[in-house]
Symmetry: C2
Subunit: 501 residues, 2 copies
Amino acid sequence: MSLLISSSSKTQQAFLKSVHELYYLRTVAGLLSWDQETMMPPKGAESRAKQLSLISSLHHQRLTSPQFGELLSQIQAESLDADMQPIAREMARDYHRAVKVPIRLVQEMTETASLAYDAWTRARQQADFDSFAPWLEKVFALKKEEARCLGFEKNPYDAHLDDYEPGLNTKIAEKLFAQLRKKVVPLVEYATGKRTDERSISWMRTSYPLPLQERLGREIVRAMGMDWTAGRLDVSPHPFCGGAGPNDVRITTRYSENDFMSSLFGMIHETGHALYEQGLDGQYFGTPLCDTVSLGIHESQSRLWENQVGRSRDFWEFWFPHFKETFPEQTKSLNLEDFYRGINRVERSLIRIDADELTYNLHIVLRFELEQGIFENQLAVKDLDAVWKEKMRGYLHVVPSHSGEGVLQDVHWSSGLVGYFPTYVLGNLYGAQFYHQANKDIPDLRAQIRAGNLTPLRQWLREKIHRHGRRYSAAQLVENVTGEPPTVDYFIKYLEEKFGN
Amino acid sequence: MSLLISSSSKTQQAFLKSVHELYYLRTVAGLLSWDQETMMPPKGAESRAKQLSLISSLHHQRLTSPQFGELLSQIQAESLDADMQPIAREMARDYHRAVKVPIRLVQEMTETASLAYDAWTRARQQADFDSFAPWLEKVFALKKEEARCLGFEKNPYDAHLDDYEPGLNTKIAEKLFAQLRKKVVPLVEYATGKRTDERSISWMRTSYPLPLQERLGREIVRAMGMDWTAGRLDVSPHPFCGGAGPNDVRITTRYSENDFMSSLFGMIHETGHALYEQGLDGQYFGTPLCDTVSLGIHESQSRLWENQVGRSRDFWEFWFPHFKETFPEQTKSLNLEDFYRGINRVERSLIRIDADELTYNLHIVLRFELEQGIFENQLAVKDLDAVWKEKMRGYLHVVPSHSGEGVLQDVHWSSGLVGYFPTYVLGNLYGAQFYHQANKDIPDLRAQIRAGNLTPLRQWLREKIHRHGRRYSAAQLVENVTGEPPTVDYFIKYLEEKFGN
């Protein structure tokens, strides 16, 4: 950072100082949130909510302050070098989005989300969509108002898609999701038509002692290249990757005695996120050039490691013997082929977070279509429960028996996260496109993975993706790395090769 | 808190809102510091320093802002109820102290402390006082300047004594320490004249498996009344009590296989601090009425539990059988009397933090006299090393062979903590005075402790001390509880009974 600062004008130095302070406030909030999920005693919850709300309002005040706006205008009038240009551009994006939404609306959204979250928790337990519907009405109404403040070209939904994935809009997403749906529905038909071999799943449900789960998990995380001097692994109810910046990246998992694979693939997934953060370029610390570019790119890193690598035969050629060595009793009669089939079996199921990597996409397509319907006023919130069931029947031939395993299963909407789901699928698309390119750039990549050497892949990801921070948009980054704009083709091809005939 | 707010005027509500925000910023800093010592990966250190410095400067800005000063003047002009009066008084104290010190001096002190701390770390390793002396010169010069800004009646040292122990000044401290020195020096002579019985110490140095140390430690902490739903116990290099407020109190200890007593008494000590925090009155949350009154009172709670209770025969009549049960091998030939003598043996030693509860006081007397000498310009910083050795010879008949085990042993001065040491001894005095009173108020207190029931003592402490927060000054609180102003008498009496003939 010192280089960056010393080479810049007085105004630029003042600007960077403010940018750093904004960044430190965000990382403070990051640590408070991590602690809330992992360490905080229950009675700390009320204060923690207040602490987080204070820090985020301080961040908002500073970002939207006239002083910061003035600094931004001043440096935009200067001639900026190749680093300061994208820093100014990205801070301007953050600034303009923040000033467009009146503080009154921000507060109303925060309060509504807090109350809606409580209502959702109760409604889900009682599988009572009707009690939650009024809250959902309010959330969507506020999100529509927010979209009007933010502005959009054609569809108000665009404003929210662009929030989580800068550059994304309804038209692009619609096209991607239509192509995906068209290919995935018949693939699911085919893959679920095959008889499940009992040998390929019975080993999963036996007992795996937690300390050994953690030991093997940590070995794999380490082999992926996690820097333990700049990160941690802990336990939380919902696995996540968080912490206090690229030098302090904290991942979590949860252990269940009878479901080691869930914890293990959770660790691999979160480590994919962590490697992205740790791979950012430290010389730009505290600026958008040392920050992750979008949720879609973030998710591409976790899914590439979890699915493309972690659920491949290549990966397990090296790790399967370690797995058997760690759990000799549990895996006595298990061979690699049955193991591979087990971790890749396809099942039509109701719950998104339990879905395999093939059917998962249809869960997201469904949510995208519902969000789009509501924003285009073609669908009423009160009908969501019924339309959900109908679409599940159409795409996956399974129908929730109650709303708790249907429209009420996800926390996102209650928390105001609208337009967020599509980034999960973008992660799949980007991940497949990146992995295809990595194999072209590193011809012996699969052989390296079979030999247990994950370093070439991690270095490639750092060089091509991680270190660029927010220098390029997500779509531009994909094109820089792969020579093509984002496409569904590589992901479809991957799914067909893995799950087709 | 809601009651307090609803019963107050609009100005008072605005004032309390600011007071709460200041409080939340402090607790955020508390959590960041706790995490730094317990959880943070090493590479997080640089960012953490920036985060902490940002939060503390935000706190300082808000406390010293003209808006807050204005609110304070306005509510002081109103007629305030019995709760708002002390809240306004204590916030005015904090405000006036903060505005008196120019931000330039605050920053210079922070930077100097950071550099002096580094210099101290190196100097201590190399036992090289001369390399540290210039830094110490600078620290004391800044502390003298700070004292001039803060103002004082007679001696500039008063300003710093009053900082850590509101109401304390050189005259009061001088009298207390003179009385203490006069009594303790001969007591040490007597107690160290007795031959040490090998049986009373050999058991201490055998091996105690860490998980069992933790298990027994947690049992005792629980019996003392620690609320685990509002607190945690973790491991850190230096034990402390911190966290994010009375509903989230976090203590730490360190375990050493061959020194269980150090970890155990550390836990008891920190739990004494934690019970004070957890015992504050939640209806005043976020205000000075739900905050600890002084370091001396804080230390009285830890030392009362650690020494008056934790090193008493009464306490171990109940816990010694548990100790033997947990470590049957290590304690095979140990009886209660030898155990008691072991945990209470007196030794002339060089290092304050390893000292027993009798000689400890002389280590503090020495530091007080040196600080006083410097502030009265009767002692030069360059002579500290020599005067230290001379005083150690006089009080304890032991002389450091190098400055690493002498004047360089404590971190405090390098960090700008001048006037802090005396609060350790005040803790001893207050603690003894409180415990004497507790035994008067609860006639069967010792019998209860012998039966393992620590609840009556904890309830008494909560009722008499904890719940009052900063409503009364430390000295007033001592007088309210015991009917007398603070005195050395009860502590001397306690030491004489325990260590005299």
